[in-house]
């Protein structure tokens, strides 16, 4: 029974949860627009002060935030593109072909997720040093992709499992090669999952810290996550600058998500087969 009271209760609960989730973001924006004097005031400032917008100008001028964001974007987009490219064919193979060691392969892919990044960073460092991949964004993309490819392979495999085999058979009869089927038929059908997988890979690349901190040595190749952390000092931390960078670091990610999320819709296969 849906009564007005239960509806109101539900809405209230949603508002509470939503506020809890959004408050840190709001607090970040407010802090980034707070004067240094007010930062440690007894009564914290609860509304942003537009007059403090120069905080942002100052951050732009004094820090390498634009460069870091550019590096982060390269790493995130690179991780996303590389992960998707590398995951499509294995996902298709795992879904459609029968071969020896398929179960083991599936498990090994899964097992990679059990290892923490911090554990892999030392051997990766040694390997990257040998391969001259240290201190390159390409190397960082490769390291990130090593983590995202197995996840995305599994996600895509699940989606491809849901594509009716008859559609592929129809395409074979219509003259498609196996690659034509994967690229022209299967991928468009699993597009929503592909979009979701892109979001996962992008955010992994965008947020990643451990590899970026270890494998990147030079200042000009720093990503935003490392750049942001570099402000946290032992003695003092310029909180409003950190928060301003935080806002700038968050906005592109939100924009990317808003752009992609409209593709993350279900029901693409509706109407293809009886069901």
């Amino acid at each position: 029974m849906k009564t007005p009271a239960s509806h109101a209760l539900r809405m209230a609960l949603i508002m509470v949860l939503l506020s809890a989730a959004l408050f840190p973001i709001y607090w970040m924006v407010v802090t980034s627009l707070t004067s240094s004097a007010n930062l440690f005031a007894d009564r914290p400032q609860m509304v942003p002060d537009p007059a403090q917008a120069f905080n942002y100008a100052e951050t732009f001028a004094k820090t390498g935030v634009l460069l870091w964001l550019k590096n982060s974007a390269i790493v995130a987009i690179g991780t996303m593109v590389l992960s998707i490219l590398l995951a499509i064919l294995p996902a298709y193979a795992l879904s459609r072909f029968r071969f020896h060691g398929k179960g083991v392969l599936g498990f090994v892919l899964f097992a990679t997720q059990m290892l923490p990044e911090a554990m892999l960073v030392v051997p990766l460092y040694a390997i990257f040093a040998k391969l001259l991949l240290l201190d390159t964004l390409g190397g960082l993309i490769l390291a990130n992709a090593a983590f995202t490819v197995p996840v995305i392979t599994w996600i895509l495999k699940g989606a491809i499992d849901g594509v009716p085999l008859e559609i592929e058979e129809a395409a074979r009869i219509d003259g498609c090669s196996r690659l034509d089927i994967v690229l022209g038929i299967v991928l468009p059908i699993v597009a929503p999952t592909l979009a979701a997988a892109s979001v996962i890979a992008f955010f992994h690349g965008w947020n990643e810290y451990v590899f970026a901190q270890t494998l990147i040595l030079s200042q000009e190749l720093r990503t935003a996550s490392v750049g942001l952390a570099s402000f946290v000092g032992e003695l003092s931390t310029p909180i409003h600058t950190v928060m301003a960078i935080g806002v700038m670091y968050t906005l592109p990610a939100v924009a990317f998500y808003l752009m992609v999320q409209r593709y993350v819709v279900a029901g693409m296969t509706a109407g293809s087969v009886k069901g």
Binding site: P164, E166, I167, E169, A170, A171, R172, I173, D174, G175, C176, L179, D180, L183, G184, I185, P188, I189, A191, G267, M268, T269, A270, G271, S272, V273, K274, G275
Partner: protein
């Protein structure tokens, strides 16, 4: 020319034999129906024809050319799936045009934007668009060309699937139970539509179904299958009037043919108490077989029901009566004679009789059945094979 010849074609899935050594000859322009219960191998055989399944042994020739080693697209066959198998991300227009686009396909069509433009260009070229429009018009799909499959009804989707098959103008059309997902009314309309399509576009059709009404009404010939073996290959009339064995006899017809146990005694057959003189055709066959125990196959319509006690009739009582409009189906439990109906749920000694009009018989009423032996066939009680050459058509 698109005659289809199967030479000793077999298919094994591991130790399981799906198709056991099939020889079949389908003439150009024929409408062959592969009929049988689920799991009899009819769909597997069709998929082998299409190239979707490999052939374990044997050869398939289409128009004199061996095709069993060719990929599906090189066989010049169109396939209509039971589940329609439309491309959900393409409009009806693109779905129908797709086989034609694939004929001109280049690898770079996979590139975003450029590939899309190239495909659209082919789709809009006069040669392709005319053919698509013409096909859509034939199937009354013109209004729906720019819609997506998800917005169509089941019947419309199946018509799109037919359109995608027709547009290629193939030599051979393969259809795998294309109507079984439709409701009864739509099914009969589509049945007529496919028959018209066959008459209009020509080509050889191979149609898989488990529905004997579809088989009888659409096929020029029927191959009735069971456990990967063709039980009988013939015209619908041959299969109905002269079933090759008791399985075919019981598979075709609603209700199916009655099989009554009998013994040959001199020139007559004894069924229960009754001794009925055999016509020359059946007598010759019975004598040639030299087996006294036979099964008499008789269609429900060849039995006449009369009042109890009639001379030369089989005595029995009415078990139930079903009124199906133009005729009545009457189940009669025979007093003396026995039947050989192996199906589950069959009452021993019960046979079916159909009479035209509304039957006023009541349950339990004693009746007598007279048999028209000129319309019966004899089967060996041992092997189940037909002994006589079957009734002559006239």
């Amino acid at each position: 020319m698109a005659s289809i010849t199967l030479n000793h074609v077999a298919k094994h899935f591991g130790p399981k034999v799906a198709i056991a050594d099939i020889d079949l000859n389908v003439k150009d322009g024929e409408f062959l129906v592969l009929l049988g219960p689920s799991g009899c191998g009819k769909s597997t055989l069709l998929r082998m024809l299409a190239g979707l399944e490999t052939v374990t042994s044997g050869e398939i020739h289409v128009g004199g050319k061996r095709v069993d080693q060719l990929p599906p697209s090189a066989r010049d066959m169109a396939f209509v799936f039971q589940s329609y198998a439309l491309y959900p991300h393409m409009t009806v227009r693109r779905n129908i045009a797709f086989p034609l686009i694939m004929r001109q396909f280049k690898w770079w069509f996979h590139l975003p934007v450029i590939g899309g433009l190239a495909k659209r260009r082919i789709e809009r070229s006069p040669a392709v668009s005319d053919l698509v429009e013409k096909t859509a018009k034939t199937l009354s799909l013109t209004e729906m060309l720019d819609r997506y499959p998800r917005t169509l009804s089941g019947g419309q989707r199946q018509r799109v699937a037919l359109g995608r098959a027709m547009v290629r103008q193939p030599e051979v059309f393969l259809m795998d139970e294309p109507l079984s997902n439709l409701d009864a009314k739509l099914r009969s309309a589509m049945r007529a539509e496919i028959t018209r399509l066959h008459q209009r576009v020509g080509g050889t059709f191979v149609y898989v179904t488990h529905d004997q009404v579809e088989a009888m009404t659409m096929g020029t010939r029927i191959a009735l299958m069971r456990d990967g073996v063709i039980q009988q290959f013939g015209t619908p009339r041959e299969i109905y009037t002269s079933p090759a064995n008791t399985y075919v006899a019981r598979f075709i017809g609603t209700p199916p043919m009655n099989l009554i146990e009998g013994r040959i005694e001199g020139n007559a057959i004894r069924i229960g108490e009754a001794l009925l003189p055999l016509p020359a055709r059946l007598l010759a066959a019975a004598q040639a077989a030299k087996a006294p125990s036979v099964l008499l196959g008789i269609r429900p319509g060849a039995l006449a029901i009369g009042p109890a006690g009639a001379a030369g009739g089989l005595a029995g009582s009415v078990s139930f009566v079903e009124h199906v409009g133009a005729e009545s189906v009457i189940a009669v439990g025979l007093a003396q004679a026995r039947t050989a109906h192996p199906e589950e749920g069959e009452v021993p000694g019960e046979i079916m009789v159909t009479t035209s009009g509304y039957s006023e018989l009541a349950r339990g009423e004693a009746v007598s059945l007279s048999l028209d032996l000129s319309e019966t066939v004899l089967f060996s009680a041992e092997t189940g094979h037909r002994l006589d050459p079957g009734p002559a058509f006239g």
